[in-house]
Amino acid sequence: MPFFSSAFARRTVTLLFLGVLALLLIVVAAGWLTARTSAHTAEVIRERDVRMVAGTIQTALLDAETGQRGFLITAENRYLEPYANALPAVREGLATLRGLYAQHDRGDERLDQLKTAVEQKLSELAETVDLAKTGRRDEALAVVKSDRGKAAMDRIRATLGGLISEAEDRVTERLADLNRASNLLLWVAGLGALLIVVFAAGAAWVVIQYTAELVAAQHQLQVANASLEERVAERTTSLTRANDEIQRFAYIVSHDLRSPLVNIMGFTSELEVGAEALKRYIGGDEQQADKARVAALEDIPEAIRFIRASTERMDGLINAILKLSREGRRDLNPEPIDLVKLFAATAASVKHQLDEANATLTVPDRAPIIVSDRLALEQIVNNVVDNAVKYLARDRPGRITIGVTQSPGRIGIAISDNGRGIAEQDRERIFELFRRAGTQDRPGEGIGLAHVRALARRLGGDISVGSELGRGSTFRIDLPARLHAKDSRLHSEVTK
């Protein structure tokens, strides 16, 4: 799976992108606010300078006035010193103020008025000082009394006061702006931090969820792996079992087919020996008369009888093997089967034997519907019930009972009898081909149960027996409740 096509990658990348965006937003906002703050700070500094310069100008003018007044009163040159010192300060202050105001367009008019008023004041001061220096003190006082200087000074005071209060207002305003900007910065940073935390938490959640999914997937994989191993083991067991069955089958078949062959060949040789004795007698050898008589009357008929019996036995064995082989190849046809009806049919088919043996067969009146192969199931039930009837104990009335049990996905059929029972060492042997157990007083070839087990396994189930010698036996047939056509194919491939 390509990394970017996974929902996990898309989600984490989106969250990462949003986080970076929030961080960028904070940086941009902080930069903007910092620029604003430094602009405000510069303005505050300038307004402070304006106030200071305005104060300096006023002070310098007052100094100049003080010097003038002192000189006019005393006519001593040393009182003129503050006046002389103040003049350059005033001019310097005015220039500075103009410089400060040059940065923005307001105030030019007032600066001009201020300059005019300052010039008027300074000219009044210079006039009076000049008059006093030339000894015309009265004329100088008259100029002072004319209030020309006072009026100019008042105007200067008013203008400077306006500038100062305006500057103060602006400082207050800018400080408030600064405060707002820093608050805003705080909010933006806080909000940004919150967003980053939210995105980081989101990313963490996605990662945790994804990891949990991975862990769950890994767990599922482990479970699947384990069940796979289990299934492999199961299949291996069934294959091993099938293989063992085939080997056992091949062994039994070869052994059982060999025995009649030994007889056929053996008695053929005996025939030859007998024929040789007859030939010599007929050829004129009278000493062979006894042997020839025995050969003609006993040995040769006996040999022929054994050869015929062995040939018939061999024919029977081969037919039985062919029948089993054909059954193994027949296609199974799963269909819903009413077990109650099936058992009833079985009961009807053995009714005659039951009556003869003074026995009863009890079948259930309720049973689940099973989906299986009808013919195979009939053969299984009929064979086991036939055996139960065949091997009843002679000393008590026979009781045969069919029971049905149900577990999830499986159906069990138990066929119990109170017959002779089967010795422990024979309980597996009876399912082998051509093998029988107990007293051999009933006809049979030892094929029935081998056939039944092969059929039960083809249907996806098995048959087992529990028994107590002399008390009875219970054959348990375990079958899947629903036979799938593919299961039967698979199994027939294994057993072929």
Partner: protein, 146 residues
């Protein structure tokens, strides 16, 4: 042979085989009585009696020829019972069967079988083997059971 003639007990399900074995033993010059049984149940009844005590075999001089593939039980079951019974345990048991499985042979010797012979499927070899067995039987000492 001793005053009490040794009797041969043959447990062999195939009547033809039993007949052929008997004839070939006779041809080797062994004329001892041969009692043969078609299945394990009858054979065991004769050897150990109906009650399984083996009292009936006391003071008998027997040699047992045993087939392993019997319809009602395996010859191994009979071997175990014979060798476990105090009256029959000294009677020689000759396993005569078609099985040539290595594990089966070992098992039989482990359980006390005295001789194990595989029946050849070829009749010439079969007849030859049985005749040699007959010669072997004619020189063999069989104890009287307790």
């Amino acid at each position: 042979m001793t005053a009490r003639p040794v009797s041969i007990v043959m447990i062999e399900d195939d009547e033809g085989h039993a007949r052929l074995i008997e004839r070939n033993i006779r041809r080797a010059g062994v004329n001892n009585e041969i009692t043969s049984f078609r299945n394990g149940t009858d054979g065991l009844n004769y050897l150990l009696g109906a009650d399984g005590s083996g009292e009936e075999s006391a003071q008998r001089s027997m040699l047992i020829l045993l087939d392993l593939n019997l319809p009602d039980m395996t010859g191994v079951d009979i071997l175990v019972k014979v060798k476990a019974n105090q009256h029959t345990k000294r009677s020689p048991v000759i396993i005569l069967t078609t099985t040539d499985d290595e594990r089966e042979i070992k098992r039989c010797y482990d359980l006390g079988a005295n001789v194990y012979i595989t029946k050849p499927v070829n009749y010439e070899s079969f007849a030859n083997a049985i005749q040699q067995l007959g010669l072997f039987l004619s020189v063999m000492q069989v104890p009287v059971t307790d």
